[in-house]
């Protein structure tokens, strides 16, 4: 269910799906498979750290984690095999890493600053900066939308729904 425009236009042909539809290169897939194998193995080992007076009894707290992590590991290995077998025909197209990394960084900053700065300031900054990272160059318009949107949300939530949002430096 990739939402890319390409896949929308791909006709349901008889071509093997793995050749056309997967965007990432074979190497990325293999790395992803390895990451999944490492994670599932770690969590499989973690099953035995779960406090369980009944051991692996099906009625105890370890049974389902065991099933899930084993299934995860097996499927990850299958995925690795699938990746290794795939031909090296993945399409390269102009994807960038700057924007997604920048958006993630903005969200980290937001999480750190929303309480000290207050909801209104932090959120308006988030909106403004995110719009810019995502390609907007109309500074005035973005600033106006950012402030209006945040203030409306703030008032609606704190006044009508009685959900408290941090006031921060504005001391609201």
């Amino acid at each position: 269910m990739s939402t890319s425009e390409e896949s929308v236009n791909t006709p349901a042909e008889t071509v093997k799906a793995s050749e056309v539809e997967v965007e990432a290169s074979r190497l990325v897939r293999i790395i992803a498979a390895l990451v999944l194998i490492v994670l599932s193995t770690t969590f499989l080992i973690g099953v035995f750290d779960i406090r369980s007076p009944k051991g692996l009894d099906p009625a105890g707290p370890r049974f389902f984690p065991l099933l899930v992590t084993v299934a995860w590991l097996v499927l990850s290995i299958a995925y690795l095999v699938e990746g290794l077998r795939a031909p090296r025909t993945a399409r390269e197209s102009g994807r960038t890493w700057f924007e997604p990394v920048a958006v993630s960084a903005l969200l980290v900053l937001y999480a750190l600053l929303v309480v000290p700065l207050g909801y209104v300031i932090a959120t308006a900054l988030l909106f403004f900066a995110a719009a810019r990272v995502l390609g907007s160059r109309q500074v005035v318009r973005d600033a106006i939308v950012a402030v209006v949107l945040t203030v409306v949300v703030y008032i609606a939530f704190t006044q009508f729904l009685d959900i408290s949002l941090p006031g921060g430096v504005l001391g609201l």
Partner: protein, 337 residues
């Protein structure tokens, strides 16, 4: 940067955030507040649970009374929900971030004592400055109306004969309902470690389990089962308090009146952060006493089926400490620790 490496960096960042971020960043993420004479600014009541539950209702009704009667003059009261781990997240915030500040209060209760014990938390309710216990709710033990168990004695005898024949259904593990089951079994002189307790989450799950015959006996707050009892679908074996409760003109038996020396009150209290100055503590006690004495609060108690359970200051502190010790011991005996 080449793509694979960036993938690794991003994945590494994500995992390390997940693991380390939880504790290290908490300080920055939550913020804090400053101390001062009470009431020198607006008061915040922290509900260590999501909106909609018993603690939340208590806090919002309390707020309602204070605003209506202008008990803090022009100062306002706000309610803030800090959810997590049966209240453990809320109390750790109160104890570590709001030290000495009389303007941040928190609602707590027996449920939190149970949850903190279960989580093997370093912090206990006794680490706060208890202001007052406010209300209590009765627990009730019920069976489906066509159950062969006619009295509490029948239940206890069945348990003594074969504990695996009795499944007890109630709320969170280690919570008030579980504690009630343990207290009863212990008072009857039987072995609490054999209690087959099945926990249900809210939304009527426990009620459905009792009506479908899945569990032998159900335990919960009286209000939870009231309709079913009134409709004749459930039969009350006992309530948990000292004073008998009258429902639909009929006096219900208590565990005591049935001959077992057991009592459980699902109490709720209001507490302040640690190290609040003695003068502020006294002002807070006076303030809460005013709320408790108001006719509005009495009306709210009646509406919600809460009994008056008012103890202040040292009495409250002593009571909370006793409850903590009792619950800790009981949870060990129930083999959930």
């Amino acid at each position: 940067m080449s793509r694979p490496r960036t993938v690794l960096v991003a994945a590494g960042l994500a995992v390390s955030l997940l693991v380390s971020g939880c504790s290290a960043l908490e300080k920055t993420l939550d913020g804090g507040s400053v101390a001062g004479d009470f009431p020198s600014r607006n008061v915040e009541i922290m509900v260590p649970a999501a909106p909609g539950g018993g603690w939340d209702l208590t806090a919002r009704q309390f707020q309602h009374v204070v605003q209506e009667k202008k008990l803090l003059g022009e100062r306002a009261v706000s309610v803030v929900n800090v959810t997590g781990a049966g209240g453990a997240v809320g109390i750790s915030k109160l104890v570590t971030k709001n030290r000495k500040d009389p303007h941040t209060l928190m609602i707590t209760g027996l449920v939190m004592v149970g949850a903190l014990t279960l989580n093997q938390s370093q912090i206990t309710v006794s680490d706060t400055t208890p202001i007052a216990t406010l209300t209590a709710e009765q627990e009730v033990l019920v069976v489906k109306s066509d159950s062969p168990l006619k009295s509490l004695k029948d239940l206890v005898e069945l348990y003594e004969a074969d504990p695996s024949k009795v499944s007890w259904g109630g709320g969170t593990i280690g919570g008030t309902d579980h504690i009630t089951a343990g207290t009863l079994v212990k008072a009857a002189g039987a072995d609490p470690s054999k209690v087959k307790y099945i926990s249900y989450s809210g939304g009527g799950e426990a009620t459905a389990a009792i009506l479908s015959g899945d569990v032998t006996v159900g335990i919960s707050g009286l209000s939870e089962f009231e309709e079913q009892i009134t409709a004749g679908k459930m039969r009350v074996l006992a309530t948990s308090g000292t004073e008998p409760v009258t429902l639909n003109g009929k006096q219900l038996p208590t565990m005591k009146s049935e001959g077992y020396d057991a009592e459980v009150q699902n109490w709720r209290a209001i507490v302040a952060p640690p190290d609040v100055p003695a003068a502020d503590r006294q002002r807070l006690i006076d303030f809460v006493t005013k709320v408790n004495q108001s006719p509005e609060w009495a009306e709210i108690r009646k509406k919600n089926g809460w009994t008056d359970f008012f103890k202040t200051g040292d009495d409250a502190t002593r009571f909370i400490a006793e409850e903590t010790t009792r619950v800790q011991a009981l949870e060990k005996e129930l083999r959930i620790l």
